[in-house]
Point group: C2
Chain length 314, copies 2
């Protein structure tokens, strides 16, 4: 099995690369290192298990030669920062939707048939029922990031329906864990590192979301790809509960030992315009394939806090 992992030097991508290498797949990584970190996969490159290409998915011509002999593409590359769209509106379009088009078009040109794609729970938009099943509709994302994930899902559907590709679309909960490069836990640790006596929390802290540990996430992806075979396979990936931002703040304060930190809430029901304050995915379809997560949301948060504190605070 020869796999191309886009965004393979990134947070989730590098964990997927670990799994693919350890099971003996031949792995090609395409990453422009805009948020990826070469160190995450350097050991695999050094050992000859990973072929690395620093290319930009916005350039179709650079992608086409990489598709040679590829059996499956794991398309994980994207702008990871949902908030960015509130300031710069075209990043998600370019790094998301258009990049996905280029991946699909280069696959079509090279007769590469299988794609697994990292979509997101944010495609469900606001006011979806909790937990949200895959067949919820209408899906109206409220962030530019969500729009790029939905736009990518539509393109994948089109290439499946028109050109016979086979696809796995995964709508991720909040994925957290080792090597995390963004997100609420990452932010809290950086804030406490800068000032151990004060922790600013965006919103009122009552935001409540489902968190999945990154190892669980990549295991789930591989489990679903191995155990399903429809032309289009759509699965929520998440854990079976939620954790509030208030609870995350308490956990991070506990794990850092910053006991004197005063929490200051910026107020409002969400962290920023386009944030979804409450989100929990229905994962019955995933469980129906015999998969269970190792970490629930709170355990994933506590574990992530511990490993990121080591990475960030040393």
């Amino acid at each position: 099995m020869r796999a191309l992992v886009t965004g393979g030097a990134g947070f989730i991508g590098s964990h997927l690369v670990d799994r693919l290498v350890s099971r003996g797949d031949s792995v090609v990584v395409a990453d422009n290192l805009s948020s990826g970190v070469l160190d995450f996969i350097q050991a695999h490159i050094d050992s000859g298990n990973v072929e690395f290409h620093n290319i930009d998915l916005k350039n179709l011509e650079h992608l086409i030669p990489l598709m040679d002999d590829i059996d499956i593409v794991y398309h994980l590359a994207a702008n990871p920062d949902i908030r960015l769209g509130t300031r710069i509106t075209n990043t998600d379009l370019n790094e998301g939707t258009i990049a996905t088009y280029n991946v699909l078009e280069s696959m079509r040109i090279n007769n590469v048939n299988k794609i697994a794609f990292a979509s997101s729970s944010v495609v469900y938009g606001e006011n979806a029922p909790m937990p949200t099943p895959e067949n919820h509709g209408p899906c109206i994302p409220i962030s530019l990031y969500g729009a790029s994930k939905q736009g990518s899902e539509g393109l994948i559907g089109a290439f499946v329906g028109t050109f016979g590709l086979q696809a796995w679309v995964f709508r991720f909960a909040n994925i957290i864990g080792e090597r995390g490069t963004h997100g609420v836990i990452f932010d809290f640790i950086h804030k406490l590192k800068a000032d151990p006596n004060r922790l600013e929390v965006l919103g009122n802290g009552l935001q409540e979301k489902s968190y999945m540990e990154v190892g669980d996430c990549v295991d789930a992806m591989l489990h679903v790809v191995e155990n399903t075979n429809e032309p289009m396979n759509l699965y929520n990936l998440g854990s079976n509960d939620t954790c509030s931002v208030r609870n995350i703040a308490a956990i991070v304060i506990r794990e850092t030992g910053c006991k004197s930190a005063q929490i200051e809430y910026t107020g409002g029901d969400r962290g920023w315009a386009g944030d979804i304050p409450k989100a929990m995915l229905d994962i019955k379809r995933l469980q129906g394939l015999g998969f269970e997560v190792n970490y629930d949301s709170e355990d994933a948060v506590a574990y992530t806090a511990r490993v990121l504190i080591k990475e960030i605070m040393g």
Copy 2:
């Protein structure tokens, strides 16, 4: 009221312009005439009721100055030929998704707040229940055209959720009528004009879809915009029944008087890869606003056949 109509020289756009002019709105049309026809709105231009700009929506810089003092944008511009995506895969991305992004971004820059968008029933994809309600999910389009409509819907949701725009998203059934420039009736008439003794029908003719007369369509759009006021208003627009392709062939043969035409089916359940063979929208939400269509599907087909025969055969 000052309205910008993108694609305003096109089939549906020009009918909308007729309505807006007749009710006294100030109308600006942006159209690159790739499928639009200037003659459709020439009388309005000559009378000074329409300001016409031959610009390409792929160029954000060209759009920005047009947004000056606009109260509402009716965004109808798109590649109208769904089949094109089977041969050229980036037209819908460029003329659809990216054009929609440019429309939204130029609105944001100019503080234009309201957008009405022509989406499509094809966003529902295949195997949706018939009739299909707005809350059907998951929506997985199977054509590049459908992907561009879904991508555009997501972008609109993002600008509503992030920047406070107000939007009306219309999922159109097959819209037919005077000035039609594509579609099954248009194709059949052209084929019979070329050879009155033979009519090739793509697929087995059992494809069965809902058809809406274009005057009903633009009346419905304006009715919904006037009678709803949510941040995001999503409505199916269609008629309450279907018409099969076999029936359309019979109607066109009858109306052209080509009684000796032999029908030849190319076979298969659909006209082309990415075609949805059966589609009917649930229009209860539209009816709930007190709107009723003038034409059912078969009447719309017969009426359209008569007017297009005049336009095409003279």
